[in-house]
């Protein structure tokens, strides 16, 4: 364990730990969009700027990519940082005008409108909320191993979608992309036995039915994927029950066990 100082407050940290995560643990608020614990820090959104006043490299840098080191001292709310953040927020308001998350942040910083041209497309699959942070692309590829989506195009016209804007053959419908998206840009919908990834060119994925109640509860390709991740002797156990039926089943067995009755599977 080492000691770092944030806004004058001493904090303990793991050596090399992301300063952003240290700050969060201490309840120090640093806005951040592209930081996700399961992925390596990436420094893409620039929202988490802080100033290093004592450390190997003094000056303004991103907290997510800043490694905690003994004696490191940072400030998170200097007037310079605040003004940089305000400029970024204005840019994000133009890039993702329909994002609630961006608007809420803008409000906290007292920003009513942006000086930049707002990008509004009525038919945007990402609902005019995408800030191109890349988290969805990375979680889909680096963590889930699917690689269904990626950046398309360049510069001002960059967007995220499936290749050729067609239904993806490799998307498992797991929804990890939607979970990590900082601006809730990704839409999907479950209707009876099909999950439709509305943002990803309408990719459709079948849902797996619970063997007890028959409810379609999880994307079938994802259920298979999860099974492969299990130890070989567990792979045989079919993941056939929905979470509700499974907990009911566990409770039933527990009750039977406590009454000493024989447990029929």
């Amino acid at each position: 364990m080492i000691r770092v100082v944030i806004n004058g407050k001493a904090c303990t940290a793991e050596k090399g730990e992301s300063l952003l995560s240290v700050a969060r643990r201490k309840g120090i608020d640093i806005p951040a969009f592209c930081y996700e614990e399961t992925l390596a820090p990436y420094g893409a959104c620039r929202m988490c700027l802080v100033e290093v006043v004592k450390g190997a490299q003094e000056g303004i840098t991103t907290a997510c990519t800043l490694a905690a080191a003994e004696g490191l001292e940072v400030l998170t709310q200097t007037s310079e940082i605040v003004s940089l953040r305000r400029a970024l927020i204005e840019l994000y308001l133009a890039q993702a005008p329909r994002s609630e998350a961006i608007r809420a942040l803008a409000q906290r910083y007292g920003i009513q409108k942006t000086r930049f041209a707002r990008k509004v497309r009525p038919d945007d699959p990402l609902q005019n909320r995408c800030i191109l942070c890349g988290l969805c692309v990375r979680i889909c590829h680096d963590v889930m191993g699917a690689g269904a989506i990626n950046y398309i195009g360049r510069g001002h016209f960059t967007e995220i979608n499936t290749p050729f804007y067609e239904e993806s053959a490799v998307c498992m419908g797991c929804g990890a992309c939607a979970r990590v998206c900082p601006t809730q840009a990704i839409a999907f919908e479950d209707i009876v036995q099909t999950r439709t990834m509305k943002s990803w060119s309408g990719t459709r994925v079948p849902l797996h039915a619970c063997s007890k109640c028959g409810r379609h509860f999880a994307p079938a390709p994802f259920v298979n994927y999860a099974r492969q991740k299990l130890a070989p002797d567990l792979q045989q156990t079919p993941l056939r029950l929905c979470p509700d039926c499974r907990s009911r089943e566990i409770a039933r067995k527990a009750v039977l066990l406590s009454t000493g009755a024989a447990v029929a599977d």
Binding site: G147, N150, Y151, G153, F157, P163, S168, V170
Partner: protein
């Protein structure tokens, strides 16, 4: 391009670095574009997601996803050319070549090919020849100080036969 041709190209890049770009460049040079089935084949062969190849293919302006015409007319839309009348040059080219009038404004990026595949009309950002703005490139030749009225004569150098059914 068939699998055997693609295999030969891939074999020339044994190392992992620079491989993908090298392979795509070869395919673009030989086929004149990146055919979809070639991308799909390469994704399997190089064991990478198709989404990644598609991303690369759409990032670099050198790559195109559709077959280009025999001659490629590239209009510079860089700042200097833009303020010196590039939009009017595009407009005139659209009419002369009879391709997608108006389609060229949308997302700032366009690639239009004549029905007979003789010409493709596309845009680029700054050729580094701003002093001659507005600038036009056909294949590997650069034309400077272009005005809409000079375009027919330029096109004729590339076997353009004109649009006889209309008067300009």
């Amino acid at each position: 391009m068939d699998a055997a041709q693609l295999d030969t190209i891939v074999e020339r890049y044994p190392g992992a670095t620079g491989r993908v770009l090298g392979v795509l460049e070869q395919v673009q040079r030989r086929a004149g574009y990146l055919p979809r089935d070639a991308l799909e084949y390469l994704a399997r062969k190089l064991a990478m997601p198709l989404s990644e190849l598609y991303s690369i293919a759409t990032f670099y302006s050198f790559f195109t996803l559709e077959a280009l015409g025999e001659h490629v007319v590239t209009v510079c839309m860089g700042t200097a050319c833009h303020v010196n009348g590039a939009p009017r040059i595009v407009e005139r080219l659209e009419r002369l070549l009879d391709v997608g009038a108006g389609e060229t404004t949308g997302d700032g990026k366009f690639q239009l090919t004549t029905a007979d595949h003789a010409f493709s009309l596309t845009s680029a950002r700054c050729f580094g020849a701003c002093s001659m703005a507005p600038v036009l490139r056909i294949d590997n030749r650069i034309f400077g100080y272009v005005t809409p009225d000079k375009i027919p004569a330029i096109l004729r150098q590339f076997d353009w036969e004109g649009n006889h059914h209309r008067n300009y």
